[in-house]
Every structure is written in C-alpha cells, then in structure tokens.
Amino acid sequence: MAKYVCKRLGYAILTIFLISVITFTLMNLIPGGPFLSEKAVTPATQAALEEKYGLNVSKPEQYINYMSGLLQGDLGVSLKQKGRTANDIIFSTFPVSARLGGISILVALVVGVSLGSVAAMCRGKWGDQLIMVVSTLGIAVPSFVVATTLMKVFGVELKWLPTMGLSTPIHYILPVFTLAFYPMAYITRLMRSSMLDALNQDYIRTARAKGVSKFKMLFKHALRNAIIPIITYAGPLLAFTVSGSFVVEKIYNIPGLGREFINCITGRDYPMVMSTTIFLATLLVLMNVVVDILYKIVDPRIKLK
C-alpha cells in the first residue's frame, strides 16, 4: 500500500510538471498580452512593466524563475489585480469555492444515491419515471439557465432568497442547488443503472430467495457493488467542484476561485494562469489517488499495484 501510494505520488509530480510546461507554452502562444489596454502605453512604460514583473528575460528563463518560486511556495504576483499575489488570491478564494462545492457535492451524493436507488427499486413505475424526467432535466439544462431561473423565481418574483454573496446560510441555498443539480442528476442516473445491474446479480437472487428484506437487500448487498462507479465519478467531480464554478460564482457574485480561472486567461495574467492550472492539476491528481484507495476499501477484491 505505502509503496503504491509513493509510486502514484511520483507519477503525480511528473504529471504536474508536464502540465506546467504545456500550460506555460500554450499561454505564451496565445496572442495578446497582459499590459495591453485601450489606451496605448509608451515604450518606456511597457519596458518598466516588463522589468517589474520579470517578463524582460527569455521565455525559458521566465519558466525557470516561476518554477523555482513555486518550489519555495511563491506562486508569483498577479499582473492584473494590482498589488495582490497569486498566493493571496488563490488561498483567499479557494476556501470559499471549496466550502460551496463541498456542500453541493454532499447534497448531490446524498440525494443522487438515494434517488437512483429508489428509481432502481421501483423500475418502470411512476416514481422511477418522475425521477428520470428530473434527472434528464438536470443533465440537459445548462447551469446558467438553472441559475438565472432560480434567481428570477426565488429572488425577484417571490423575494424569498437573496441572490448575491454568501454572507448567511440562506445565501447558500440558490448557489448550492445550482451547483448540485447537474452532478445530482448524473449520480442518480449512474446509480440507477449500476443498481439495476447489481440487483440482477445471482447473489441478490439468492439473498431474495433466502427471504432477506428488501431494505437490507438493497442497502447491505446491492449498494456496495453499485457504488463503485459513483466513487469513480466523485473523485474528479470533487476536484472540479471545490475549485469553483465560473458561471455560478459570476451569477451569484461569489468571490471564489472559479472566476479566477477564466479571468486570468482573458486578462493574460501569466502567473495566475500558471498557478491556477497547477493548483487544479494537483487537486485532480490527488483526488484520483484518493479514489483508487477508496476502491480498495469498498471492494476488497481490488488489488492496488
């Protein structure tokens, strides 16, 4: 196990290194630059800015400077958000996104797994059909539509819920629902089909023949097998969701990390592009390792090599 984890972590570092090289290359290939604006800047100003932010040296040198900073925990200075460091931005916005995303995933998992199991249990009946309609909606409707609809209905028309920020628990309701809707729907469908698979297995038939109660059969025997695809899905999902959603954060005005990913690219904020990408990559890679370990816990037949 320890050997396995070490090996995986070794691969993780290699992956992150490759991602950093690719990101650095790509971001320098896109046209435009961080200091362009509608008002032309003088060559003296441009030179002063490039010197200040270390962009006056060759590209490989810039990469090495960035990476050596990174190894010392310094993610660089934002070129666009004047006077802020990437560390400050990422570590002040990530907790906000992580909290919102974490709650959303919990909601999605609990509701999705339950609904999926219920749908599988009453397959073909109206309950199943209703759940399938809702989950199809959840997959088909994009989050900005969900967000604006909820906002119009509950914020503007009914005036029940606030629509911006996260200052009180009530403020979480709309963004959490918006964020959770898609994964919830996806988990429901995933759960339903894997549960149906499990329920058709011989050992379930045996259990049923032996007179095991429906509840026990479902939760003790079938769920264990049915949950594996959910874990596979939940790992990367967790990484993506806790790192924030551009749409939800923009619409509900939440100061999370999700908006930074997009804004730094459109603004050509090079250190922020590198830092946010490496941050997300690290999170994803770690989540994948965690998921593999979780498999082992859920299904002892799986051997980690």
Binding site: R84, S167, G267, L294
Partner: protein, 550 residues
C-alpha cells in the same frame, strides 16, 4: 456494514476537510465590523457601477468605474460640481499668469488625510512625480505632458524630479506648463492628478488592499475591500466639507453579471445599478426609476488607411455615409445614444456653447436625409472605381466578441450590402487579441471608440496624430499633425478652438474613421436615493446622497 460505514466516514471526512477549509475565508461581508467613529445608523446605500476594479490607486486607474471610486476617496486641486464644472477642491485659490503658462496654487489650510495628517504641497508633488514616472506605469502618465518637462519624464528620458512643479511653502506651489493649456483645471480634477500618501505608497504595491494603508483625502474613506464582492466607504471625518457628506455607509457592490445586477436591484439589495442588460432595455425604459447618462465619447469604425481599398478617402466616405445611424441607435444599441455626424463628441464644450454646435456635423444624421447620404455614397464609390460596388473586394470587419458589437456589425454588414452592393465578413476576436490587432493594423475595418479623459476636443483629435499610439486607423497626415501642434501651442482660446475646428474639418475630409454614435449609458435608481448626480465623463457622485425610508 462496518465497511460501508468506513466508506461513508471516509467520504464525509474528505468532504468536511474542504468544508472546513472555508471557515477561514471571510465571505460574509460585515460592513459594520470595522466602521470607524463618526458613522451613524443612517441606512446603508448599496450601488453597483461595475465589477471588481483592477486597482483603487488613482494613478494606476484607467477605467471609468475606477475613477468613480477615486473621486469618493481622493480629491485633486479641483473637483467637479453638479453641473460638471470644475471648482476648487483642495485649493484655496489658483492664479494663472497672463500667458497661461504659470499656475500659482494655494492649498486650503484645513485639508487633511483620512488619518488626520495635513495634506501638503509635498504630497501633491510626490504624487505627480510618481504618476508621471514610467516606473509607476500609469496609463495616464501622458496627461502630464502639459507640464514643463512632463513629456520627457513619462517617456523615460528625464528624472521625475525635473517635472515643472515647485514648492513655495507648505501650502503654495507653482506649476510651469509646457504650453498654455485651457483645460488644465479639468486635468487637475482627474484621478491621475490626485495626491497619495508617500509613507503608505512608497515601496508598497499593496497599499490599496488594506483599509489601514488606504489613506485618502476625499470626502469618504475605505473601510473594507472584499475582492469581487464589495468596496465599502464611510464618511472621512477629516474632510473639510464633512458636514455635507452622507452619513450612510456607501457600499459599491462588484457585480459582473447583467442578470444578477437586475435581480439584486429588483429585490431591493441595490439602490442603484449601472449599465443595464440590452435585452431588457425596452421594458426598463418605461419605468420611472430609469435614467440615462450622455457621455463624452464616440463609437466609431477605424479604417485601416494603409490598406487597399481603404487608402482611398472616397471609399472611406462612401462606407461612412451608407450607415443608417438612427437604425443602429434605435434598434441595436438602444441606450439612448445620439447618432454622430463628427468625431468630437456632442457634449464637448466650447465656451458657453459646445464644439459640435459651433462646428456643425459633417454629414446629416437626420433620418429623412439617409437616402440622400446613400446616393452620395454610391457616387463616391463609383468615382473610386467601384460602380454599384462592382469589383470591390470582400473585406473583413473586425470586432471583439460582445452582443452589442456583434449586433452593430451585422447591421453594418447588411447596410453596406443592401445600399452599396459590397460584401463584408464579420471577424470576432477575443478582447485581448482585439486589443493587439488594432494598434498592429492587422485588420481592414475595426470597431473602435474613444471616451474623453477631459472635456476638450483635443482628447479626440490628438489620437489621430501620426505618431499617436491610439491612432488605430494608421492615418498619417502632416497637415493634421501640424494643426494639432499649433493648437497645443496657442494661448488664445478663441484662436485655439478655430485651429481645432480646422483640424476636425481636415479629419472629416479624409474620414479615416466613421463616427457612429456618441455614447450613452443607462442606470436604474431607487426614488428614495436622493442627492445623486453624474457627469458627462461618466463619474457618478454618491457622497452627498441620502436614503430615505421607502
């Protein structure tokens, strides 16, 4: 069962790790938390004039919303009144020599920073030298070129200390101008000329981030900047006119999304919201709380005048005349814009009149004259060798991706096709790419626009000088350049305006760009928010607002 429990526990632990991370982040903005003495229980005023600004440093700011944050927290030698006129701000009096070259400035003796320290001449001199220096990299450093030595300083050829400003004593200073500048008072009211405090600014790029180092001399002061959420100001108790300043906490909510803005306004979370969603404008215009700001700015098209066939003024004129501006402002942009018949915007003043009224339009923008314009356009195009558009190459119209600009592009494409028989393709570019395209000249016709920095025709005309970095049309005309230089050196106001009119006449004859409309912006304001005003430069003044119970 035990193992399932373990699984659930593991997932739960994982989840709580991330949920737990959140406890450190302060997303709950509590504006009362660090409210200083002097603020009372007046109801909070919440407004939205834009998303997160790049900076709150008045010298580095380049946006209109940023300027609005600056006018609340800082004040220059001059300030703007309700009518958009400049009146002395931090100055007691300003005396200008007869030749207009020497400005003797006496500061008020009761001006203080928000921490109680007195504002001195040294603060102004430090701030101007800092803003003009290329090291500071202010987008507006060029506005110091009117001061003696200013051009050399911002171009990096001279030390900032050579800027023509001298201290007489703590409250007196003398400014030497490079040439007479009738709008220097307006520049002195512009954020880049605002004073900042050396002891908090020097060597500290992050001084605007923290209320303890964000020291200003304006009517209000910062208590909190929650990034991407809100900027909160309260009255600066040390401001000389503090009695008139609102007792309410003023919260600038930093919203990006159009729908979010309107939702927050409609459910009462905002008292004022700026720049309304175009799709909803038709309905919003009918409401009583709707308002429009006519700005000093012109939306125009830049022709790449170095490329065929746009190197021919007849072609440029033909394309300009074939545009139905009334259609565009009424059905596409819809914010209450005014069709433009010249490049210098309608609101630019000339004495008691406006520059536009004196100079007139260069082509009629009346709806009934459109057909006549089209006829003239066809004739010009035929003269240029393209009768009925025959043989005219298919060209590209480049714009950045935005609903409004795409709408305008499609309308133009249709008008040119229908009226002149010429084909154009629309190329959309991402904003940052677009910003690089125009100065590089790698386009044929591109969307463009200019918002005045100060109320003077020069701000519009100067950008078309051959060597100007904003000359997106890449238009080079020695006669025009000479006129601009002449205007800049002229001390007699009347003669100066005459020269500027000549320059604009020449511009219109050559038509390197096609003026489309003069900008306007829309807002919604709750009726119980009183004392608000705005200026044609787009500044919005909330510091004297009061909010009564609805």
């Amino acid at each position: 069962m035990k193992k399932i429990l373990a699984t659930i526990l593991a997932v739960a632990m994982l989840a709580t790790t991330f949920v737990g991370c959140g406890s450190g982040g302060d997303t709950g903005s509590t504006p009362d938390a660090n409210q200083p003495e002097g603020s009372t229980s007046a109801p909070e005023i919440s407004v939205c004039i834009g998303p997160e600004p790049e900076t709150l440093d008045p010298a580095l700011n380049k946006s209109v919303d940023g300027a609005c944050y600056a006018i609340h927290a800082f004040e220059g030698i001059y300030k703007f009144d309700e009518n958009g006129n400049t009146i002395p701000g931090q100055a007691e009096k300003v005396e200008v020599s007869d030749d207009g070259l020497t400005w003797d400035i006496t500061l008020r003796d009761d001006i203080k920073w928000s921490d109680g320290e007195p504002v001195t001449v040294d603060d102004f001199i430090y701030s101007w030298q800092r803003a003009a220096s290329p090291e500071t990299a202010s987008d507006y450093a060029n506005l110091f070129d009117v001061i003696e030595g200013g051009a050399d300083v911002y171009q990096g050829n001279a030390d900032p200390s050579t800027l023509g400003v001298t201290k007489v004593d703590d409250t007196h200073m003398t400014v030497k101008l490079a040439a007479p500048c009738p709008y220097f008072d307006k520049l002195l009211a512009f954020p880049v000329y605002y004073p900042v405090r050396k002891d908090v600014v020097d060597g500290n790029d992050g001084w605007t981030q923290d209320a303890s180092t964000f020291i200003g001399n304006g009517p209000m002061m910062l208590t909190n900047w929650s990034h991407k959420e809100s900027i909160t100001y309260v009255k600066n108790p040390y401001y000389y006119d503090a009695d008139k300043v609102t007792d309410s906490t003023l919260k600038f909510v930093l919203l990006e999304d159009d729908n979010a803005k309107m939702a927050a306004y409609d459910n009462g979370e905002l008292d004022y919201v700026f720049q309304l969603p175009i799709d909803e404008l038709d309905a919003l215009k009918e409401r009583e709380d709707f308002g429009t700001i006519n700005e000093i700015g012109t939306y125009y098209l830049a022709f790449q005048t170095e490329k065929e066939p746009f190197n021919d003024p007849r072609v440029r004129k033909a394309l300009t005349l074939a545009i139905d501006r009334n259609y565009i402002v009424e059905t596409v942009s819809k914010q209450g814009e005014v069709p433009a018949g010249a490049i210098v915007a309608a609101k630019v003043t000339e004495g008691d009149s406006t520059f536009r009224e004196v100079g007139g339009d260069y082509f009629s923008v009346k709806p009934e004259d459109y057909e006549k314009n089209v006829e003239e356009a066809k004739q010009l195009l035929a003269e240029a060798g393209y009768p009925n558009g025959e043989g005219f190459p298919t060209f590209e119209y480049t714009t950045n991706t935005a609903t409004l600009h795409l709408g305008v592009a499609e309308a133009l494409q249709n008008m040119w096709k229908e009226e002149l028989g010429i084909e154009c393709k629309i190329a959309q570019q991402e904003w940052n790419v677009f910003l690089a395209t125009r100065p590089a000249g790698t386009f044929e016709v591109a969307r463009d626009g200019w918002i005045a920095d100060y109320d003077d025709p020069l701000t519009f005309l100067e950008i078309f000088k051959s060597d100007n970095g904003n000359n997106d049309c890449h238009w080079k005309n020695a006669e025009f350049d000479a006129l601009i230089d002449q205007a800049k050196a002229e001390s007699d106001s009347e003669k100066r305006f005459e020269i500027l009119h000549q320059a604009e006449d020449l511009w219109a004859e050559e038509m390197p760009g096609a003026p489309l409309y003069y900008y306007a912006d829309t807002y919604m304001k709750k009726p119980n928010l009183e004392g608000y005003w705005d200026s044609p430069l787009g500044y919005k003044f909330f510091m004297y607002c009061t909010k009564t119970a609805e």
